[in-house]
């Protein structure tokens, strides 16, 4: 490594720094500030995110390796960062009302979210597995805390406990995988691994390493058979947090997965495509079919998110630049609609999330037409009805699959999406075609409304005129081998 290795340019880190500073500010101001305006910290956080986003956006098009080549700033890292900021922002918008009704309106919450975002940014900017690992842990640790944030609620801290153990176990396996790769390649730089893989035959140890790393990835994106934690954790965690977990972590890990597979170990694609294919099928089937019988809407969304991970993996299995772009786009679309869904859940759930049965949504359309409409749009989008982001995402992913000749896989995927339509429709039917059982008494925080509006607009924008975003995500995978 040359001098450049020592060159430490702060510029790529500016967004992250901004976020960290904001997070700290939130904590300090909470410590010394006056009581009772905790939710303002949320807006502070939003401001931080906005600035960070602006800074990140300024870097669009630039390309740099810094910090001893461990940290890359390219279109992928920037676009994913923007997605994180968006997700975090929406989550924060949903939070104040929620936290107030849960009487847990603490500043830490916002700080944790900001720190989680820092972790996320590091994950997708990593060119070195360890940096990724650190980012991952930063994220996970914040999430452990967030998952159990409403600590007096038993479901909540049960979720935290499960997430803690399983997450820890997964990261241990990931580490072991890294260790095996290291044992063969002698380095954890993506480039070095790639260099090694190209010039030598795959050894058992290397494959083991790769598979173990993949297991770590799959766990984080809640792909079957490593999905078991997701329903329980999403089901227990506070709804906005669940939304955040279900989306942000997936985006990041998919980003890294694509970097890792498409850059470091691309030549072994015969092997990993097989693995990814199997996992994808498993996720779609298990996720969708298990969701058919769910009555708890949070768990239903959890299972659906498992299935969606499966769809996205189709794009990964395509092992192509387009596949990568498709996955990225799909993740963005998925994040929007899922956040929207969880957001509405957080509103309808009311104090202590007592109303999370699907039957609790009976006749929502009659009482809160707008809210119901937003929910319906999110669900139709999840179901992949054309005109919505969900359809475009699915379409692009499946297209990449077909193009890569993965036709059987795609056929399975589309049939699954047909099955999936059933349980999404059930919710819509509850809201529109059932008579309301009891009065809906809950206040909708204006911030939440703003969030929903943004989401709905986003869903239609991605569904009807996705051109810009598609080409952006396509261009951000220029490095993809093949």
């Amino acid at each position: 490594m040359s001098v450049q290795m020592l060159s430490v340019s702060i510029r790529p880190l500016l967004p992250v720094i901004v976020l960290l500073v904001t997070g700290m500010m939130v904590l300090f101001m909470d410590a010394f500030g006056a009581e009772g305006r905790e939710s303002h910290y949320g807006y502070l956080g939003l401001a931080g995110l906005a600035i960070a986003g602006w800074l990140a956006f300024k870097m669009w098009g630039t390309h740099s390796l810094s910090f001893a080549h461990t940290l890359i700033t390219d279109k992928l890292s920037i676009i994913t960062s923007l997605i994180y900021f968006l997700i975090a922002g929406l989550t924060i918008l949903f939070s104040p009302g929620y936290l107030r009704q849960e009487e847990r309106n603490l500043a830490e919450y916002y700080a944790l979210i900001l720190f989680a975002v820092v972790g996320l940014v590091f994950m997708t900017s990593a060119q070195h597995l360890v940096l990724f690992f650190v980012g991952l842990e930063v994220l996970s640790i914040s999430l452990y805390a967030l998952a159990g944030f409403v600590r007096q609620r038993d479901l909540c801290n049960e979720a935290a406990l499960k997430y803690l153990f399983l997450g820890g176990f997964a990261s241990a396996i990931l580490l072991m995988g890294m260790a095996f790769i290291y044992s063969v390649t002698g380095s954890l730089y993506f480039q070095d691994v790639a260099r090694y893989v190209i010039h030598s035959h795959p050894s058992v140890a290397l494959l083991l390493g790769i598979v173990l790393v993949l297991v770590g990835f799959f766990f984080k994106v809640s792909a079957a058979p490593f999905h078991a934690w997701a329903p329980d954790v999403y089901g227990g965690a506070p709804a906005p947090v669940a939304g955040f977990m279900a989306t942000a972590a997936k985006v990041a890990v998919f980003g890294v997965m694509l970097r890792f597979l498409g850059m470091a170990v691309y030549p072994l694609k015969v092997h990993w495509i097989a693995v990814v294919t199997v996992v994808s099928v498993a996720s779609m089937v298990i996720g969708n079919f298990a969701a058919l019988r769910q009555d708890n809407i949070k768990r239903l969304l959890a299972y659906s998110s498992i299935a969606h991970a499966g769809y996205a993996l189709v794009g990964v299995a395509a092992a192509s630049r387009q596949g990568g772009a498709a996955v990225l786009f799909y993740m963005l679309a998925y994040s929007l609609m899922n956040l929207g869904a969880f957001g509405v859940v957080s509103l309808v759930g009311r104090k202590g999330e007592r109303y999370v049965k699907i039957s609790d949504y009976a006749g929502l359309a009659a009482k809160h037409p707008v809210l119901a409409a937003a929910m319906a749009i999110c669900f139709f989008s999840l179901a992949g009805v054309p005109g919505t982001a969900g359809f475009m995402g699915k379409f692009y992913v499946f297209a990449s699959g077909v193009r890569a000749g993965q036709i059987p896989l795609v056929v399975i995927a589309v049939l699954n999406s047909a099955v999936a339509a059933y349980y999404y429709l059930r919710v819509v039917y509850m809201m529109y075609m059932e008579e309301p059982k009891e009065e809906y008494v809950f206040t909708i925080h204006p911030a939440a409304v703003i969030a929903l509006v943004i989401i709905v607009i986003g869903i239609f924008q991605l569904g009807l005129i996705p051109g810009g975003v598609l080409s952006a995500s396509y261009s951000s995978f220029a490095w993809f081998m093949s």
Partner: protein, 625 residues
């Protein structure tokens, strides 16, 4: 010429339209539009006929109806001897029957009255369209149109279950025949590449005779349905549920003869398909006999007439079947008069007896209603083939044709049927008009009908009496005239004059014999019909129940069809099997779902297990490839 034709055809439609749309205005005045319309049309067609007599022909298109690629069908008219005669006959009879209806329908509700005339006009329009069309498809339009009107008019008293059923029965049965007709048209288009009479008939011979046979048979199926031949005749007796003028116009004079007209129109084809011609003749002969036998014992005034109509249609088919098309049409022509007449008289009887039809309850009515009675006698004499009445001439033509074209059997059947015809007709007369009244009350209420009804009777009676003399005109009279179109090759008139006269005498004798027998049985009571019925019970019951044909149809066709559809196709196939599979898939999915969920124990160590196992599995898969 064109204008006259169009006038003849479309004026009735105009009348129908006016009455149909302004139903609520015309009301009881409907006839003021309908009847003049018909007489106008009648005049037009008579003018047309005269022009044709002058040797004029016409074949013109009004506008292009269905042009698709080579399939081009205009709304066009063909006027030659055949269609001219048909036009004249139809419009003439129709006009008088319209007039008659004024009296007959006087007790109807205003709306019903207007509706009736609207439909009657519409019917006439379609009938005229049928006979004057210059292509098969337009003819089919008329063909179906008259069917529709007959359906509507039979069901005119729709609140009577029997009427409603009869209407539907008529429509569906004839549609069954039309199916054959339609397929025949398909075949004609497929093989001749056109549906225009001109093109088809001029190139008739380009096809192999087997193909032509198929086509002609298919067309004949249509005729069988429309003209109530065996086995599709069952609708006609029931059709008597309609108002009597309707029975007279549609189910005696005009519509039912459409089949005969069609076969005659297609003579070019039938000439090339001897086998089909044979079939036509045989079906005709069989039906003639078959129907006549049923008529022997029936006591319902109109039913007897209906069966006699079927039988007479059989005669016409004999005619067109054996190749003497002109004779067939001639009989059609005369039949229109005398059968129309008889129905109207029957109507007049019904009218005064308030719908009583059972002739066993009548008798001696001639004293109360002389005009009705005597006109009926004229009709009966005509149908029995007693010279010089019209029936004699046409029937003789047919039988002679049958004989000379080498169908002795047909001739025998026909002649015997002539005997039966005379018998049951005069049985009817003696039971109804002569002898002593059997039901005093009915006899009391009987009186002569109003002139508006009797005048048509007289006119038609004159027609029935004298129409036969058309046969005597210059160069073969009407027959020769028609033969200009129908181009009958064999002119049997001269060379077998001697035999001809013999046949003539035989058939007349048959008629006289029948009348005599009827007289002795129903006036003199020797042999007493009641006794005979008892002695010949099995035959009598068989005949009395019309050979149980309806019952057979129900038992073997209709009920199985409906039952099968309901229980096999719908309840079993549709609901149980197909929909069962559809819903079964859904259920299966849910089952799988609940199976998958069992892994979700909520117990951390189990999840750890799952992760490890999963890791091993995918590692194995990774190695595998």
């Amino acid at each position: 010429m064109k204008l006259w034709v169009l006038g003849a055809v479309f004026i009735p439609l105009l009348g129908a339209a006016v009455n149909g749309i302004f139903l609520w205005i015309t009301k009881k005045k409907a006839h003021l539009i309908a009847v003049p319309a018909l007489f106008a049309s009648c005049i037009c067609s008579l003018v047309v006929l005269s022009k044709v007599l002058g040797g004029a022909h016409a074949d013109f298109d009004l506008y292009l109806w269905i042009p698709v690629g080579k399939f081009v069908v205009p709304v066009g008219f063909l006027i030659d001897e055949l269609s001219a005669v048909m036009l004249a006959t139809v419009s003439f009879v129709a006009a008088w029957i319209h007039l008659y209806s004024i009296g007959y329908m006087e007790h109807e509700t205003p709306r019903g009255y207007a509706k009736y005339f609207c439909w009657l006009n519409l019917f006439t329009f379609f009938m005229l369209l049928l006979v004057s069309a210059n292509n098969f498809l337009l003819m089919f339009v008329g063909w179906e149109g008259v069917g529709l009107c007959s359906y509507l008019l039979i069901g005119y008293w729709y609140e009577k279950a029997s009427a409603a059923n009869a209407g539907m029965k008529a429509f569906v049965t004839t549609r069954l025949g039309d199916l054959g007709f339609m397929i025949g048209l398909f075949a004609i288009y497929k093989y001749y590449g056109s549906l225009m009479f001109a093109n088809v008939f001029s190139h008739a011979s380009i096809l192999s005779s087997s193909l032509i046979t198929v086509i002609t048979l298919l067309l004949f199926v249509g005729a069988v349905g429309k003209s109530a031949q065996f086995p599709l005749y069952v609708w006609l007796p029931d059709a008597m549920e309609g108002p009597t003028p309707v029975s007279s116009l549609i189910h005696a004079a005009t519509m039912v003869t459409a089949g005969v007209y069609m076969v005659a129109r297609c003579h070019a084809l039938y000439n090339l398909a001897p086998f089909s011609a044979e079939i036509v003749a045989s079906i005709g002969a069989f039906t003639a006999l078959f129907a006549a036998t049923i008529a022997l014992v029936n006591n319902d005034l109109k039913r007897v007439l209906a069966y006699s109509t079927i039988s007479q249609l059989g005669y016409m088919f004999i005619g067109v079947g054996v190749g003497v098309y002109a004779a067939g049409i001639f009989h059609l022509f005369t039949h229109a008069f005398f059968k129309g007449l008889m129905f109207l008289t029957a109507g007049s009887v019904m009218h005064v007896l308030h719908g009583e039809l059972n002739m066993q309850k009548m008798g001696g009515l001639i004293k109360k209603m002389p005009i009705t009675g005597w006109t009926f006698v004229v009709g009966a004499l005509a149908i029995s083939g007693i010279p010089p009445f019209s029936g004699f001439w046409s029937k003789d033509e047919i039988l002679a044709g049958a004989f000379f074209h080498g169908h002795p059997v047909v001739w025998i059947v026909g002649t015997f049927t002539a005997f039966l015809t005379a018998f049951y007709m005069f049985r009817l007369i003696f039971l109804t008009f002569f002898g002593k009244p059997r039901d005093a009350h009915l006899y009391e209420m009987a009186h002569e009908s109003p002139p508006v009804m009797t005048i048509p009777l007289i006119v038609l009676a004159i027609g029935s009496a004298l129409a036969g003399f058309f046969a005597l005109g210059p160069h073969g009279g009407i027959v020769g005239f028609l033969n200009k179109t129908l181009g009958e090759t064999v002119a049997h008139g001269k060379e077998a004059a001697g035999v001809g006269h013999l046949l003539l005498i035989i058939s007349v004798a048959m008629g006289v014999l029948g009348i005599a027998l009827a007289y002795s049985m129903y006036i003199r009571r020797v042999p007493d019909p009641v006794v005979m019925a008892r002695t010949l019970r099995p035959i009598y019951t068989l005949l009395y129940n019309k050979y149980y044909v309806d019952e057979v149809y129900f038992a073997f066709i209709i009920n199985p069809l409906v039952g099968g559809s309901r229980y096999v196709l719908w309840k079993f196939m549709d609901v149980a099997i197909i929909d069962g599979v559809v819903n079964g898939i859904g259920r299966l999915c849910r089952l799988v779902g609940s199976g998958v969920r069992q892994f979700q124990t909520g117990y951390i160590p189990d999840y750890v297990w799952m992760i490890l196992v999963g890791a091993v599995v995918i590692y194995w898969i990774g190695i595998l490839f």
